[in-house]
Structures are given as structure tokens and as C-alpha cells.
Symmetry: C2
Subunit: 318 residues, 2 copies
């Protein structure tokens, strides 16, 4: 629970923009305005915190998204890290670098940030607005959990599970890059992602041992689980749940899905999960001991080991 007093702001152009955003957000942002946000962490709870940046030209292009969607997507992407810890969302602090070319869209971006924050039941707790040459949003999100779900607990013998259907964001980007309009379904998966809070809590309550949200792509993120747990993660590509029109390779590589990739009991009740949340829960592999002591990811297709298609890397090796 946040405890922020409302403090009126001073004067100046930067403060006028911030004041306009605060008026638009209303109670969602009540209390913003001191040097710091002040928050109470309930007894028995630990604080979880993550920062996530979305930069124009790197994470999205202006032609692809409305300003509202830019704000909504960046904020949801950040909150997804809180969801992946099976934690409760609390708040978001917004650092925005605003070029002159986007200044007229400022309140629309803020509107999207507000919508995404409201959608997960959190609050806006602070921020920093600065000028710059490219639009950049850095969202610091915080949440609470008595026992956060980490990446590091996968055990040999665990099954590997994934929520939802994969490939939509990649199909949307591919269509835009080829000058086509993506299907409304693929577009929505890119522009209006969902942070899987309730799903993560269900999974944590049913004994999963480790988890993360798919942001770099299934195979890359399986690599994070393997590295963090010191295990081998085996992905059965034939089992991947596919978004409409997506191939298995699309599903294996598509980043910024924000679906959950978890390890845990092979006995999870996928039918009950789908009935509750309206999206599938699919067993797509297993956890094995490390190979020669080294963590690794193995992908199988038709039962044979195949070369791994990797996800996106912002900094490819030279």
C-alpha cells in the first residue's frame, strides 16, 4: 500500500506538462510531487523492483503504434517483470525523455501509461521528465511478495510450461517491416500486451519452481532459466502453442510476448488453468541435469536435437 501525500508542484514549462499529466491521471497518481515517493511495505512482504526501458526505433517505431499504445505497451512490459515474480503490483515511476516532435502526444502517452497502470491495479508514484532527441520511457515498477518466484529454482525432473500462444509480436513486426498491415490479432499482441499477474499467482500456488516472462524469446529465456538454475532445459519445439499463422520457429524466437515460462510439476491441471484464465497452459519440455556440469538449452524437433533459433539481441557481438 502506498502512502503518499499530495504536494502541489512549482512553476515552469516542465512542471506545466507534469501538472497536466497529473490532472489527467487524477487519483491514480495522487501524492506525486516530493523528492521521493514514500511507500510502506506490509509486514512479511518483500519489495520487488524492476526497471524497463522502451526506446523509439529500438523497441517500436512511431508508425506502428498510437501514442497511447506506446505508453500502454512500455508500462505493461515493465509490470510483466513484477508478474513473473508472482508478486502483487504496487506502483510505477515514469522517466520520460520527450523530443519536441512528440510533445503534442505527451498526454496521449500518459493516457496509455495510466490505462496500463489501472489495468494491473497499481498506482503512479513518481517520475522525471526530460527533453531529448528520441522518445524514451523508463518505467520503474515495484510490487510486493511474501515469496517471490525467481529464475533460479528449476530442478531436474521438472516439466517446462508456457502460458498463452506464441509468435504474435514477431508476426506483427514482420508485417510492418514488409510494409503490410499485421492481422488485428498479431497487432494486438504487440501493441496491447498483457502482464500475467493472476496466472503467475496460480502457478506459484500450484508448486512451480522457477519462472520468468518471455521478453527475449522463448529459446533465449529458456537459456536464462538454465543458467540461473544450473540445469539443462529441453524444449520440445513440436509442442509450442502457436498464435494464428505463426510457425514453430516464429514461436521459438518471438520476443516481448510477456507470456510466462515456468518449471514445475508435470501434473499441473492445464484444463483448469485454461478454464480460469481463457488462455492455454502447455507443457513444452523438461528440465534435466546439466550436461558436463554446464547449463544449456536443447531444442528437439520430431524427437531430434536441432540448432536453436535465437531471439532478439539489441547488442549483437561485433
Amino acid at each position: 500500500m502506498t502512502h503518499l501525500r499530495h504536494l502541489p508542484l512549482g512553476y515552469g514549462g516542465e512542471f506545466d506538462l507534469i501538472s497536466a499529466a497529473l490532472r489527467q491521471w487524477g487519483r491514480l497518481a495522487s501524492g506525486v510531487g516530493d523528492d521521493c515517493a514514500v511507500l510502506e511495505v506490509p509486514a512479511g512482504m518483500r519489495l520487488v523492483l524492476s526497471v524497463d526501458t522502451a526506446v523509439e526505433g529500438v523497441h517500436f517505431r512511431r508508425a506502428w503504434l498510437t501514442p497511447q499504445e506506446v505508453g500502454y505497451r512500455a508500462t505493461t512490459a515493465a509490470f510483466s517483470d513484477i508478474a513473473a515474480m508472482a508478486a502483487e503490483p504496487v506502483g510505477v515511476a515514469i522517466a520520460m525523455t520527450l523530443p519536441d516532435a512528440w510533445r503534442g502526444d505527451f498526454l496521449n502517452i500518459c493516457d496509455g501509461i495510466g490505462d496500463a497502470t489501472r489495468a494491473v491495479g497499481a498506482r503512479i508514484i513518481g517520475g522525471d521528465l526530460t527533453r531529448g532527441r528520441e522518445l524514451s520511457l523508463t518505467l520503474t515498477v515495484i510490487g510486493h511478495s511474501a515469496s517471490p518466484l525467481s529464475r533460479g529454482g528449476a530442478q531436474p525432473g521438472d516439466a517446462l510450461w508456457v502460458t498463452g500462444r506464441l509468435g504474435g509480436p514477431l508476426l506483427a513486426i514482420r508485417a510492418w517491416e514488409q510494409g503490410r498491415a499485421p492481422s488485428s490479432e498479431s497487432r494486438a499482441r504487440f501493441a496491447r500486451p498483457v502482464a500475467r499477474f493472476a496466472e503467475a499467482r496460480w502457478l506459484a500456488a500450484h508448486g512451480v519452481t522457477a519462472g520468468l516472462d518471455i521478453s527475449d524469446g522463448l529459446v533465449s529465456d529458456a537459456g536464462h532459466l538454465a543458467a540461473a538454475g544450473g540445469v539443462q532445459v529441453v524444449v520440445n519445439l513440436d509442442c509450442l502453442p502457436l498464435a494464428p499463422a505463426a510457425t514453430t520457429d516464429d514461436a521459438a524466437q518471438s520476443g516481448e510476448e510477456f507470456e510466462l515460462l515456468v518449471t514445475g510439476p508435470a501434473s499441473l491441471d492445464a484444463a483448469a488453468f485454461e478454464k480460469t484464465f481463457g488462455i492455454p497452459l502447455t507443457c513444452i519440455g523438461a528440465v534435466a541435469p546439466p550436461v558436463s556440469g554446464e547449463p544449456a538449452v536443447e531444442a528437439l524437433r520430431h524427437g531430434a536435437r536441432v540448432q536453436l533459433p535465437r531471439g532478439h539481441d539489441h547488442f549483437p557481438a561485433a
Copy 2:
């Protein structure tokens, strides 16, 4: 106290850069690598959190600072908001947008971030690294306090106090913009600022009612105190403590000083403060009831009211 487990990272160019930074930081960043940082907040303590962005070309120019100083300055500026709440620093999460032109300086920037974090006794708790066209550092800093000092408590009858000597950063920027080298003293005030943690705790222990750090400039920040407290703040310009070679107007306008501006008893023992911390504590004005119910700042020179020199505004009204 932070409780972070150390989790090895996966592969990829972005992760190689992050891994190199983590190796350089060593124990300062132990535990980074999960979706979120996980932190314990001690019983009776509240969490304080702030985000602060430094963008090349807006907050500094490349020719002015070494890469280490870029990191040091941005990190100290962020921690200064924690100091201004009279809180204990805990940690920093680093969101960096790294253009190709700065890639060779990445570890030097990280070195400066590490030095600044070590200097205040905090830890590196997480981050996000992304590519972009301009160097941008968004630091999310957190701390603890049982009773954070806010901007909003100034009372009519309080005195207005400031730490240190003002004007140095403005003199440094003016020299650079005129193609001159700043004095080493002015340069150091800009390049290696100090977050006044111990000073803020001393002031809080001695009964100050409100406070902030001077980031927008004395007069602008006095306006924040006035607005937050619903009071009139009277600044006696003749009393401003001046950095070497600074004029009163320089001291009134200079931003990013990170000195503390507080309201409280007129009886503070400035001599004891200076003896303890090696910098002056100066009474520079007073708090009065609001004028016609409106918060305001008044500046006096030789006893007469004068037009206020304002600080820097990144977004001047069109």
C-alpha cells in the same frame, strides 16, 4: 538491507556487456540477474524511491566530462533525492541507453556509477541496457527512513537555511559554453557533486520542518517549498553563501547544486554544523504566511523586493 541471490546471466551481446559490468562492480552488484530485485524493508522503516534521468546534450555535454564523471554525476544526482528526504541510501537500478559512439566507454561509465554508489554506501540492485541514439542514464534510487523529510512542512516563522556554497555548477557551464576551462573548483562542483546524506540527517535531528535538494536552482526550489507548504518563502539574496567567483545572481540561479534547502528553527547551530561537515550552513531567509492565500517566493536585495532570477527549465513555455 537487500537480499539478492546471485544468478548467472544467459548469453548474447547485451548480456556480455552486462556481465562485464557486473564483474567490474563485484560485490557491489552481487545478486543482480533476476526479473526483479528483491529487497527487505526493515520493520518501522518506509521505503523512499526516486528516478532521475541524465541525457547527453541536455544535462551534460560529452566534451565536458569523462565517461566516469558522466556515471558518477548522474548517480549522485539521483541519490541526492534520497538524501533530501533525510533517508538512508540502499540501492540503485540503472537503465542505460547506450549509443554505438559511447560503447567503448561503457565500462568507464559503469565505473563512475559504481564509485558514486560506493561513496554513499549503497548497492547496485538491477538495471536495463538498451541501444539508442543518445546516451541516457535513468537511475532509480531507493532508501529507507522511519520519518522521511518532505517538501511540504514549512511553517510561517521558520527560518530558511542552505548548506554549502552556491554557484559553482553554473560557473562551470558558463565557462564551457564560452569555450574556456572552468576553475578546478567549479568543475569539481559540476563533475563530482556530493549527496548530502549525513548533513540531512543532522538537520532532521535538529528539527527542520521541510527540505529538498537544489536541483532546479535556489529560487525555483524555494518555489517548490512554498508551493508544497502553502506558504511564502522569503529569500534574502544578500545572505547567499557564494562559491568562489560566483555572484549573488549566479548563486540564486545555479541548478544541480545538490545542496540542501530546508526550513526550520532559526536557532540551528551553524558553527557546529560547519565543524562537523566542513561546509557552511547559512540562514538565507524566512517563511511567512501565504500572500492573499497564494504560495509565493519573494527575493530581497538590500532590503528591497526584487524580480526573481529563475533557474533552468528544460521545457520553457512556447
